[in-house]
């Protein structure tokens, strides 16, 4: 384990003290909101570094299970999605057992869930050993000479149970080596995954041996030790402002704050809280997940107390996730409804505010008298964004701003460009970033008013 990991633990344990220092710092910072923001929920930053630092060196005396199986290299110059075996290159790292690749002909993005393994979560909900598993996979593949995907069944690729991702064995050739390594089995042998229908796979026997070895040797996840990158400390109670203005300081920490829900989107909510000192709202995106109780709590107009893990994720931007809900004896860590039917209204902002005041990110805002000058409609059949529009607008003071819509409907029909073309509009929605560029995100037609 690297020294920096130890330092991280020390840092985590001092979090409470840091909070006090930060709060003082915030008062100074709050006067200056102009800053370049990392992507919000819709703004991925693929090159961002993963959280923390972690390294594992295998005990050389243990068997090298990853090379006990052999790759058939005779037909790897094909496309995996067509033949079930083929060279690929990394498009995007997601977590320890999911990576997106380009196929060999670079015509399709192959979303891959690794066959036979299940690493702890590091997106949506962060679990112990989730971040180390994610770093491990990225480290192995980013420096690989070549990568090959192989289906569990000969001759064709197979999907996972969601029907959205392929299942595959991931092989890589380390730089300077001529021996292909099976990454799925290597992850198992290094104790960073549980099995997932492992024994029933084509390499089931060796994979099970690798898993058993990791358990017997008590490696990483099976060591009984704490994950050096996971925050086990006390929950930090803070304001939304303190959280979002100091993202890196709170990244991976367990936080608790209050706020009003303004919008639902993508399985989560936008929450905001008014700050008396700066006389403005600060907002954050909170991911709710698939818990059956989540829809009972995450409702626009509710004032909530939320406890979750702050996560500056390279794929989803900064968000709070890992919420829990209970209708019976809720603990401090469960989400609580403090008040229902809270009246809330958007903050009226200028084009200048949108372009320069990044501290308003994720808050509910309103802009008036925007002249729509051009429109781009997303045409991506099979995607939820098909039919969504980007409205380029000019404000009354001549500034250019962007309004991004979801796929809007009117009387069951998709709203098209004609609805907005050439019009002057008042709009309200969430201040978000897309690829570092600010935009107002419009979620419903009711939030758009056509003036002329």
């Amino acid at each position: 384990m690297k020294k920096r990991s130890l330092l991280r633990i020390i840092r985590n344990s001092l979090a409470a003290l840091l909070v006090l220092a930060m709060l003082a710092g915030i008062l100074l910072l709050s006067a200056c909101h102009t800053q370049k923001k990392p992507g919000g929920p819709s703004g991925a930053t693929p090159e961002a570094d993963l959280i923390g630092d972690w390294e594992y060196t295998r005990d050389a005396s243990l068997p090298d299970y990853a090379t006990m199986v052999k790759l058939n290299t005779s037909d790897i110059n094909a496309d995996f999605d067509k033949t079930g075996r083929g060279l690929v290159t990394v498009e995007q790292f997601i977590d320890g057992d999911t990576v997106h690749f380009w196929n060999n002909s670079h015509t399709e993005i192959i979303k891959v869930r690794f066959q036979g393994i299940d690493t702890p979560e590091s997106t949506g909900k962060v679990e112990p050993w989730g971040h180390p598993a994610s770093i491990y996979t990225k480290t192995k593949l980013k420096d690989a000479e070549k990568i090959v995907l192989e289906s569990n069944e000969e001759g064709h690729a197979t999907m996972d149970s969601t029907g959205d991702r392929y299942l595959a064995w991931v092989w890589y050739l380390p730089k300077g080596s001529d021996t292909w390594r099976n990454l799925n089995i290597e992850i198992l042998s290094d104790g960073l995954a549980m099995g997932k229908s492992t024994s029933a796979t084509r390499y089931g026997e060796i994979a099970m041996d690798a898993l058993t070895s990791a358990r017997t040797e008590r490696i990483n996840l099976y060591s009984g030790k704490r994950d050096p990158l996971f925050y086990y400390g006390e929950t930090v109670e803070l304001t939304i402002k303190a959280l979002v203005m100091n993202r890196s300081a709170y990244n991976s920490l367990k936080v608790r704050f209050e706020g009003v829900v303004t919008k639902e989107s993508g399985g989560g909510i936008y929450m905001e809280q008014f700050d008396e000192d700066t006389q403005q709202y600060y907002g954050v995106y909170v991911y709710g997940g698939y818990a059956p109780l989540a829809p009972k709590f995450l409702v626009p107009g509710y004032r909530l107390s939320v406890t979750g893990t702050a996560d500056d994720n390279e794929n989803f931007g900064f968000q709070v996730s890992g919420l829990s809900f209970s209708l019976i004896n809720p603990t401090d860590d469960d989400t609580k409804i403090l008040e229902k039917d809270v009246k809330f209204a958007p903050t009226l902002i200028t084009a200048e505010d949108l372009l320069t005041n990044g501290s308003l990110e994720n808050t509910f805002v309103r802009m008036e008298n925007l002249k729509v000058t051009s429109i781009y409609t997303t045409k991506n059949s099979g995607s939820d964004s098909d039919g969504a529009m980007t409205l380029t607008c000019t404000s009354q003071d001549g500034k250019t701003v962007t309004v991004r819509t979801v796929k809007l409907t009117l009387d069951g029909e998709t709203v098209t460009e004609e609805y907005f073309a050439g019009k002057t509009i008042n709009v309200q929605g969430i201040f978000t970033y897309y690829k570092d560029a600010p935009q107002l995100k419009l979620f419903t037609l009711a939030d758009a008013e056509i003036l002329q």
Binding site: G195, S199, M208, S381, D386
Partner: protein, 477 residues
């Protein structure tokens, strides 16, 4: 003389064991004597399960409560992957004598574990005067679920306790059904051209209305086959000694219903998880067009009642739902013999060398499974149905259930409600060594049968049945 001495020693030893209230098990561990946990002993209980992050949070919350009473017992709960992974891990560890004290299980798994003679007969604890279950606690379990623990040949033995339950239900696109005047089907096959409450009639009608649709998706092919044999009372398996006689599914009655499903598949009326390539809820909730600009989806989806939240379409960004979801019992073949499959994990206890660990494991199981609060929270977090009657009397659970509706906010409660209404129709198949192979094989058989080439001969189709039977026998010889 030596024989006489040996006999006397044997009698004395036996008497000593009886007097001390102890007995030796096959693995050398002892059972008997007081099973009350020593409050001063540091004990670790390993518990293998398949819970994801949300359910683990619930479990951990109750472990905290347990430790307030038993601070010296450490519950080392481990999520192992899927049910099969738990089974594989336990089998491996049983051979090495390193098995967990508690494991999530399905009956097929336990049938296999029993060969190791390390599965604890829970009656040893349930009937114990000090640590056992009271009559009221036993009666609080829903009887059908509780009795599943006795299904291993010898009904005097109780090898499992129910943890949580689910069944299969039929999800349908309520909006589409209402807009097109369709009735919710309650039986499979049409008795005539106008039998509008048959699934057969409804899926054909849907295809007429929307030719690009695949009206029906059925997730589990194995469940479908087995459920049909239960509903039609056709042979499937039996728990007998002779391997060749255990597998009865290769018969004409079963081929007959497969023929009907095959005709549906060929006509594009239905698909399954294996044929579609993913849970068919993906097809049911799909609102996106393919490359040709067509939105292909199903209007009926048969899957686990515990997966209700996945059968509900996501709320659009403008806050509306694309459609409402209705839930009903799966179609039946015979109204007088209604059958739906019983699913959901049970738990078993596996013998540990240190008797204190066994006792602590039981103490934890009893704490967890007799807690209506735990059952309620587990249900509300997962969509599984509680196994205790008292849970349904809790105000918080009633509030949860009162929110049952056809949107994401109430779909899990609605599913649980439909699931509970079918309690009398639950069935389980006999569990024996090889029963999991039978299940695997009939699932694959159904897929192969319905998706065989259109011009496949009767002999080729029959061979699929014969091959499945042969594989079952070979795997268990």
């Amino acid at each position: 003389m030596k024989k006489l001495i040996a006999l006397v020693l044997t009698v004395v030893l036996a008497a000593a064991l009886v007097l001390s209230g102890c007995s030796l098990n096959g693995d050398g561990s002892s059972s008997g004597g007081s099973k009350v946990v020593d409050p001063d002993a540091e004990i670790e209980v390993v518990f293998y399960h398949t819970m994801g992050a949300n359910l683990r949070s619930v479990l951990q919350k109750y472990i905290v409560e347990f430790n307030k009473i038993y601070p010296k017992i450490t519950i080392n709960e481990q999520s192992i992957g899927g049910y099969d992974d738990v089974r594989d891990q336990v089998i491996t560890e049983l051979q090495a004598g390193k098995q967990p004290a508690i494991a999530y299980c399905y009956p097929d798994h336990v049938a296999t574990y029993l060969r190791s003679r390390k599965v604890i007969d829970l009656n040893e604890y349930i009937n114990d005067s000090e640590v056992g279950l009271t009559e009221a606690q036993v009666k609080d379990f829903i009887a059908g679920y509780y009795e599943e623990g006795r299904q291993f040949g010898d009904t005097s033995k109780m090898y499992t306790l129910p943890f949580s339950k689910s069944t299969e239900v039929m999800y349908y696109n309520k909006t589409f059904f209402e807009n097109n005047g369709l009735k919710v089907p309650d039986h499979w096959f049409a008795s005539g051209a106008n039998d509008d409450t048959s699934l057969e009639y409804v899926i054909k009608k849907i295809k007429e209305i929307e030719p690009t649709s695949i009206p029906l998706g059925y997730d589990s092919e194995a469940n479908w086959f087995i459920t049909m044999t239960e509903q039609l009372k056709t042979p499937y398996t039996q728990a007998v000694d002779k391997v060749e006689d255990r597998f009865l599914f290769n018969n004409q009655q079963n081929m007959d219903f497969c023929d009907k499903f095959r005709a549906w598949c060929v006509s594009g009326l239905m698909t399954t998880q294996s044929i579609y390539g993913g849970y068919t809820s993906g097809l049911f909730t799909n609102t996106s067009a393919n490359d040709s600009g067509i939105v292909i989806h199903s209007y009926i989806s048969i899957g686990s009642s515990a997966g209700a939240t996945y059968q509900c379409p996501a709320k659009s960004d403008d806050g509306s739902y694309p459609f409402e979801v209705g839930i009903a019992q799966i179609p039946q073949a015979d109204k007088s013999n209604q059958k739906v499959i019983s699913q959901g994990p049970s738990v078993c206890m596996l013998k540990q060398k240190d008797q204190k660990v066994n006792d602590a494991a039981w103490t934890f199981i009893k704490f967890l499974l007799t807690s209506p609060e735990f059952q309620a929270e587990f249900s509300m977090t997962s969509g599984y149905v509680p196994v205790l009657r008292s849970t349904f009397e809790m105000d918080a659970y009633k509030e949860f259930m009162s929110g049952a509706n056809t949107n994401k906010e109430g779909i899990a409660a609605l599913s649980a409600k439909i699931c509970m209404e079918q309690e009398q129709s639950y069935f389980t198949s006999p569990a024996f060594v090889g029963s999991s192979d039978a299940r695997d094989q009939v699932g694959k058989l159904l897929v192969a049968y319905v998706s065989a080439a259109e011009n496949a001969s009767e002999a080729e189709l029959k061979k699929l049945f014969t091959d499945a039977y042969d594989r079952c026998v070979t795997l268990n010889k």
